[in-house]
Amino acid sequence: MTTTTTVQAPAYGYADLPRLMALMTGDEKHGPAATSTLDALWVLYDRVLRVSPGTVDDPGRDRFLLSKGHGPMAYYAVLAAQGFVPVDVLPGFGSYDSPLGHHPDRLLVPGAEIGSGSLGHGLPIGVGSALGLRAQGLTDPAVWVLVGDAELDEGSNHEAIAYAGPAGLDRLHVLVIDNSSASHARPGGLAARFEAAGWSTATVDGRDHEALHAAYTTPHPGRPHAVIARVEPKNVTAAR
């Protein structure tokens, strides 16, 4: 048996994600709903988050909490591409012996910080994570929580948003994937809710990698930060 101390470059890139998703879905063509999170997740994992398969238990790692656990194929594909999840478990997606369910389970998926599925749980847990890191003097790690625009219907999010702004949790970040799936919404309402609670916000095209990266890395001293990534409407045909 040989060992190596060199750090391997990720074996997969952005262009491989459709193929990795196809291992779960059986089809390389994926509609907007399945890929709504794909670009935002890729840029975050590839260029921003300071966490790797070797540091998943490091207290100083950045935390990414997928709160919107629905349609997790894009998430699993990114985790596989980045080396957290072995590619050979992807085809078993959703089967009895698979670690990969239709909603993720943190005790089964390497690199998953939380299990999700029931909407509205990730952001309060993210608030607690930011508080816990601060209380331990770990002021460097960032906490990121991905939510969907319709997920923000859940009142638990508003408890967290309204608390985190005044509390000045500046290591807390929310990534809202806005695919216009909320039944009751007003234009500009997403960012306004965060701003009213004292958050920094940025609204960008959720398919534009440079714009996403700029929004992710915008300084926001003393305030939590929300990035609203707009993508194609989920029900574009139904809405016509």
């Binding site: 943190r106 608030v127 607690g128 331990q136």
Partner: protein
């Protein structure tokens, strides 16, 4: 004598001083009793406002970073309102923490049903892995709180009450205590029910066990006390019958009978004071004696 809630405030302040892993998470309730701790540990005494889903979710998030959260408010707002957070954010996430409630089933009768939570322990019984402590005295509340915080990453519920027994006993966070021994049946008194139970069984030939840790249920102590063909009465300060299934499981290898006494399901729609509510639920000494002797008629000496 200080109340359990006062003792909780003092004890958790000491624990915050001693252990950097401990964090206290509040939703306004009891904040006025921990002001000194909040000054000394502003990063570890966290008041989230009147937001109970956030209270429990943030507690779990603290645990996921390695902290030992102590999460506190009234029982209904801690277990019932954010029950899915208790189920998922602690249970499903595999996180540990200490939930400490106040108010119990009937501690503030003038406050009405919105501030009563007789179903809290029964709700936790639908979940896996929760330890449940029900102290009957401020000294016991302190001992059980210390035990709970020291219990690694366990999930622990500590149910404080304004109702208390005159004397605290040496409880250990696991076992039931034998308070008196008899041959005509076993009566288990849970937490604050002990004094009323002892008054109720005065002169009766029964064993009285005292339980302040009801989950896991100390089935071994019950089997030892009950012997062959036992009759068992459980008197609990929350929903009647909550521990009946646990007693049945402990005694499944012998024929037995179990009577579960506690708070009734029916809403009283009455205000008043605690003594009136205990009578209304049949938990005062005279009502308890009548119900216990009715259940154990053949075991009782002729009057």
């Amino acid at each position: 004598m200080d109340s359990m809630r006062d003792r909780f405030a003092r004890t958790v302040t000491e624990l915050l001083d001693q252990d950097p892993r401990v964090a206290l998470v509040l939703a306004e309730i009891t904040r006025d009793r921990v002001e000194e701790a909040e000054r000394r540990h502003p990063d570890r005494v966290i008041n989230v406002g009147i937001r109970e889903q956030l209270l429990v979710g943030a507690g779990a998030g603290l645990a996921l970073t390695g902290m030992r959260p102590v999460v506190h408010t009234f029982a209904g707002f801690l277990v019932e309102r954010p029950f899915e957070q208790v189920k998922l954010d602690f249970g499903h996430q595999g996180a540990g923490g200490v939930l400490v409630s106040a108010g119990g089933s009937y501690d503030w009768p003038a406050g009405g049903f919105t501030h009563m939570a007789p179903g809290d322990v029964a709700l936790l019984d639908t979940l896996d892995g929760w330890t449940v402590h029900v102290p009957g005295h401020a000294d016991e509340a302190e001992a059980l709180l210390r035990h709970a915080v020291a219990a690694g990453d366990d999930k622990v519920y500590v149910r404080l009450s304004e109702q208390a027994n005159r004397d605290g006993l040496g409880v250990d966070g696991t076992r039931m205590l034998t308070v008196r021994e008899g041959r005509g049946g076993v009566v288990i008194a849970v937490g604050p029910m002990l004094d009323n139970v002892l008054a109720a069984v005065e002169g009766l030939d029964v064993t009285v066990l005292y339980a302040t840790t009801v989950r896991p249920f100390d089935g071994e102590a019950l089997r030892r006390a009950a012997g062959d063909g036992p009759d068992v009465v459980i008197v609990e300060p929350y929903l009647a019958g909550t521990s009946t299934a646990a007693a049945n499981e402990a005694l499944q290898s012998v024929p037995h009978r179990v009577l579960g006494l506690g708070v009734g399901r029916r809403e009283l729609r009455r205000y008043g004071d605690m003594a009136e509510h205990l009578r209304a639920h049949g938990l005062d000494p005279a009502s308890l004696r009548a119900r216990i002797t009715d259940f154990l008629p053949s075991r009782m000496p002729a009057a």
